[in-house]
């Protein structure tokens, strides 16, 4: 038996080697668990921070501190990026009402009178027959409800039903692939 073979045999039979293997495996598992925990903690922290921002924005849309930067800036620039959807909705309501006031019957009559107009009497009117004239239509603020017609994706057309609830067909594997890609994307984002 050569020296080399003896050394190999002695190394293989060394009692500390098994302990080293066990310890290595344990440390490896520990490191893996630590990495997963760190990753989980990082993702959770980011999610919590963003969630907190969302909650603060939701609260700020309902109430503003009188001396907050947001409230001070909102006055000068009503279309500022800092305005929430709720604030924009309120501004829209105000603008609509302002327009309604400006175009109210009393103001319109007053304006017309100042411009020299006066109400026309029946005997002052001259009626002309105009081909293709369409009489004034009553208010149509939204489309009427009707049968929804939509392409179902397989070349057939669906009539009726709620088009917003119609779901595109998606295979199970496609869904699984999308979910995995989404998870990987999340992990990639979580990397420091």
């Amino acid at each position: 038996m050569s020296t080399s073979s003896r050394f190999q045999q002695a190394y293989a039979q060394a009692p500390w080697r098994l302990q080293l293997q066990l310890s290595g495996a344990f440390i490896l598992a520990l490191i893996a668990a630590w990495m997963i925990a760190a990753m989980y903690l990082d993702v959770s922290t980011r999610a919590a921070a963003i969630g907190r921002q969302i909650q603060e924005m939701q609260v700020s849309s309902r109430s503003l501190s009188v001396n907050s930067a947001q409230s001070a800036g909102a006055e000068s620039d009503p279309l500022s990026d800092t305005l929430s959807i709720e604030e924009l909705r309120l501004i829209n309501e105000n603008l609509q009402t302002q327009l309604a006031y400006l175009s109210s019957d009393a103001l319109m009559v007053d304006r017309a009178t100042k411009m020299g107009f006066k109400p026309v009497a029946a005997d002052e009117l001259l009626y002309l027959q105009v081909a293709g004239y369409l009489p004034r239509q009553t208010a149509q603020l939204a489309p009427p409800p009707g049968p929804a017609v939509g392409e179902m994706g397989n070349g057939e057309w669906e009539v009726g039903g709620d088009p917003y609830r119609r779901q595109a067909p998606q295979a199970m594997l496609e869904w699984l692939r999308d979910e995995i890609l989404r998870a990987l994307e999340l992990v990639r984002e979580a990397q420091p």
């Binding site: 009188v66 001396n67 009402t97 603020l141």
Partner: protein, 612 residues
Amino acid sequence: MKQTLASPVPHRSSLVRRYQFVALFFAAAAVAIVAQMIRLQISPDAIELRSRGQLYTQELHTFFPARGEIRDRWGNVLAGNQTVYEIGVDLQTRSRNPETIAFTLSRVLSTHAEYNRPEYYDSVFTAASRQPISGTVYAVLADYVTETEVAEIRRWSQEYEQLYQDRADDKNRQTLQGLIIRPHLMRVYPEKDLASGVIGFVNRQGEGFFGVEARYNPLLAGEPQTLPMSTDPTRAQQLPAIPDGATLILTLDREIQRMAEQVLDDAIVANGAEGGSVVILDPRNGEILAMVSTPRLDLNQYWQYSDIFPGATPFNRAVSRDYEPGSVYKVLTMAGALDSGAVKPETTFLDTGSFAIGGYYIHNWNWGAWGEQNMTGCMQHSLNVCLAWVASQMGTDIFYSYMQKFGIGRLTGIDLDGEVPGRLKIPGDSDWYDVELGTNSFGQGVAVTPLQLSAAIASVANQGEMMSPHIVMAYVENGQQYTIPPRPISHPISAETAHTLTEMLAVSLEDEASDALVPGYRVAGKTGTASIAGPTGLYDSDLTNASFVGWGPVDDPRFLIYVWIEKPTSSPWGSVVAAPIFSQLAQRLVVLLNLPPDTIRLAMAAQASTTP
């Protein structure tokens, strides 16, 4: 013998036992922890603990949708929303200065009628000085503050901050820190008192009163939703999209409404009347184009309601006040008589000045005898005696059957709050007497609302078909517009009867050279002068209700106008007071309806029919 000073080395097996003991100890501890965790999960108290935990993970939030708008038939806004602000103080803000807050608010809001009072400063100071105890962390200081006032408060705040920017640690510094502004919507009415009786109003609690605001309150208000919102940042939820309340599109025409209000207001002043009402509707479909009632309220100041409508003053006379209509009611009597065959237009009646029925004598309005009259003459001269005879020819059963077909004594079902049914006494009622047949025939002893009689007589203008009067033409909900189709109620008379009666009433106006005539347009109509019963039930007052109902053009009726002037002092007669108002309204209405004079319209129709 060799003696060693060191302690004996423990035997290897002893060491192993010690290690085993320590390992066992830790293993037991781990098992105990795991067992306790499992026990907590499955113990009877686990559900209670979990539910307690849930209390801290969620908060209930109520989301209020914006109230739907009210628009006229052309889309003009009659009721909308405007942002106002609630101002409060966060009691947890340690740096707040109650004195500065009270001073600022009492100064800035001094132009605000609600807060322009000396004790407001003290009330704000007291509220802002409170400590956050017993869970109270917020106190409301003012509400319905306008955008201009809020801008002023913010300006003050910025100036305070600039003034003390180098003395941030000064404990007595003036600051508005802790002041919270919460925007919310308030109902506003850009047209102020226009059609106030139809629209109604909304109070600060969001409750609708009168008109469509009350009738359609659930539809306009939408459905507030109370949802649990997670307080856990990792589970932040999207704010729910609460659909706004539905927008109503009324049948009203803003310009016709304003015109009718002006004409009625002028007429009430000119005739020294107590009040009045005008209803303008399209007899073809029952759409109300205008509904006027006096007095009217600026809906933006609804708190003046009790001052403007003292006692039992109705908010909308057209639907909420019934009265004895007088001779306009003869249209229904004659319609029933013609339709039942009891009389024909050429039937003659010898008017001797009185007619006995139920033990009483009926007399004409001038206590005179008009001699032989045909039915057109009876209507033209509005002869009570003749109409009482006509009713007796019909008989009790047929007469009241027709009145019920016309909907007298019943609600019309109009989509407005506060409609009253009026009163039609019928045989069998404890307070019905035989003479009622005679008096009812000319509109006394029966109570109707202006709308009720308008809807009934509109059937004469619409080939005998009675349409349900309605005020809402369509509503917009969840991005879709739902149109409410016209709804026929009944067919009380035939089309032939309707044409015959319309022609009789057109001729009677023309022969009489009535003040109701409309130049260029052939109209049919009937005056009404009704005595007013006193508290004792006796007609002992000189005051009357003057009315007129008319429609046109006769060959293709597009409008029906009902005028009621209550207690005029200029003249008691409907022909003098109400008929000219009808004419005035009709002359301005045809312009707003783009309705050419009869000659032009018929020529255009003839030309269109001959053009291939």
